[in-house]
Amino acid sequence: MAGILILLTIGLPWIGGVLVWIAGWKRLAFRNTVQLQNSLAVIFSAVAGVASLVLIGFATSETVIRIPMGAYFGDLTFIPNGMGVFLAAVAAVIGSLAVIFSIDYMRGDPEPGRYYFMVLFFIGAMAGLVLSGSLLFMFVFWEITALCSYGLISYYNDDPKAVAGGIKALIITQLGGVGLLAMALFAYAYFGSYEINVFLAKAGSLPVVPLSVLAFGMLAAAAAKSAQVPFHTWLPDAMEAPTPVSALIHAATMVNAGIYVLARFYPAFAPVPYWKLTVITVGVVSVVLAALMAMVATDLKRVLAYSTISQLGYMVYAVGVGGIFASQVHLFSHAVFKALLFLGAGAVIHALETREMGQMGRSRADLPFVRVVFIIGALALAGIPILGGFWSKELVLEAGLSDGPRWAYLLALFAVGLTACYTFRMVWLVFFAKSTVQSDHAPHDAPLAMRTALAPLAFGALTTWLLAGPFSQLLSSTMPAQPIEPETTLEICLSILRAPATWLALLVIAAGLAAWWGRERLTWLTKRLSWLADWAAAGFGFETLNRWIVERVRGAAGDLAILQTGQLNWNLVGTVAGLLAVLAWLAWVIY
């Protein structure tokens, strides 16, 4: 049963994607092509979402599907453990909501076939990535998600910014993919198997040096995929994608893949010297830097992108201090409220046709429904009780207080205040500030399909924390290697409310809010800190670093161009000589 459900969760979106594409062929000339494509995409993604939800009931730590793929590729296996089924459900359910939202958002688009194909292909691949029990096929699914992300960032491919953003995302996440591939090949070389369970069971027997290489390689892979410092620069530029895609791929699912592998392989890598400290540092630095950049960004989607980096940083930090459960709960609540915020932002952008927050405001963004759901999402992001974000963030901070260095905890705590501050700045600028731009056409509130997608997410942002207890029991029963205690929701909530860390964090959140309300009285401070604001607006120099690397690579390519003589003779001799060199090297190695 679980096997069938897994195949449905992965296969249905893929089949649906191909059908949507075929339905768009001009030769078929359906009477209402766009409507047919919309219905196909919604039906297939929604059924996959239902299948993934049913799959949660069949979670187990055993391999349920094993497809032999030949001697060199190992078996394609699927393990529906607690973490996997839950992330697959997040991908498929939020995926189907994003597809529903797209009906309105992509109305009038000339090529809905291409769009839906890549979105549906992504949903299936994401489910495959988290359910796969084989490192090699995990890598394959990982790359498919990167490819879909690239195709969707560059979806408006006549816009040079979109094309550049797509290529940037592709290159940076490829760097991470190499780390994952290296890990799969290492595992095969040492254990003769690609299976994750074999790897987790035997990793302790590896010598220290290869294990450290693997651990840090995987950290780089996770940081690239989850947009953590210093690989975070692709995520803000990925905001050129259509907004439902930003919500699905760049907030709720794909960027979580890095957190997933970190948490999944934590038991194997935790003993590696300095690994946990590095994870903590990467997480906390991302939290603080991204929050500061979100404070000064003026583009609504970029603010949300920076806040995604920052919240993902909390999850990485939680893994580093051993709070696997805290990281997964925060991942869950973040996926819901950030998808809500992005889709809400999409509705605003769709209505006002601008992404600049300076051009929004009270009289322009007069969208009652969107305002309500957006504010629910924002409250969850700021960590206001009793929304989802409050409980999960407190869990992370509690884990940080009980383990890990004190400076990291203090920085994470400080960033909680920053989060509250930039969240309220964003809400204020979008919905309440005085409009500086006048426009003649009245904005329209979210149409039906958008509301259909936004309402369940808003409900989720209010209630997902109630699932924390069953979630902990699911994780602890199906993932024996991870340090997770089964608890009930009531126990978790009581322990959060009793912890002094919670009240400290609430105090910091209140301070962050007060800082925004009293910003006119704090001008002496903001003037002092203007250098920091300028630096943050410039991306803390990481953009310069990126540009420098790109220039260097281009320069090196230009210098190497003299090797291209254009003479066929030289090319052929080079080919033959290279072949002979490889043969000679092999002969030397073997004999």
């Binding site: 190497l560 254009g566 052929l572």
Partner: protein, 104 residues
């Protein structure tokens, strides 16, 4: 002085064909001659395969590999000649010096 056993004669043949082929690769300026030179190189490889099968005692394997190489090589030759025809139609010349539009 090396004894002129059949094995050594074959070996010398392989090395000689390789030498002719490599020299030809560098010296030829005509596209059709280039295809012929590649054929010489591949023939050296085929003989080397058969020889290796004889030495290792797995003559069946080496013969089937040699047959495969001959088939693949025929395809290469056909495509190479077809390209030469197109090049002649397009550039009006078969001289490799005139075909350096890939120069970096």
């Amino acid at each position: 002085m090396m004894a002129l056993s059949p094995m050594n004669i074959t070996m010398l043949g392989v090395v000689g064909l390789l030498g002719v082929g490599l020299y030809g690769l560098l010296a030829t300026r005509n596209l059709i001659k280039m295809v012929a030179v590649l054929q010489i190189l591949v023939k050296a490889a085929v003989i080397a395969l058969v020889l290796a099968g004889r030495v290792s005692g797995r003559i069946n394997l080496s013969q089937s590999l040699a047959a495969t190489v001959i088939v693949a090589d025929t395809v290469v030759a056909v495509i190479g000649l077809a390209l030469a025809v197109r090049v002649r139609q397009r550039f009006g010349s078969l001289d490799l010096k005139d075909l350096s539009s890939l120069k970096g």
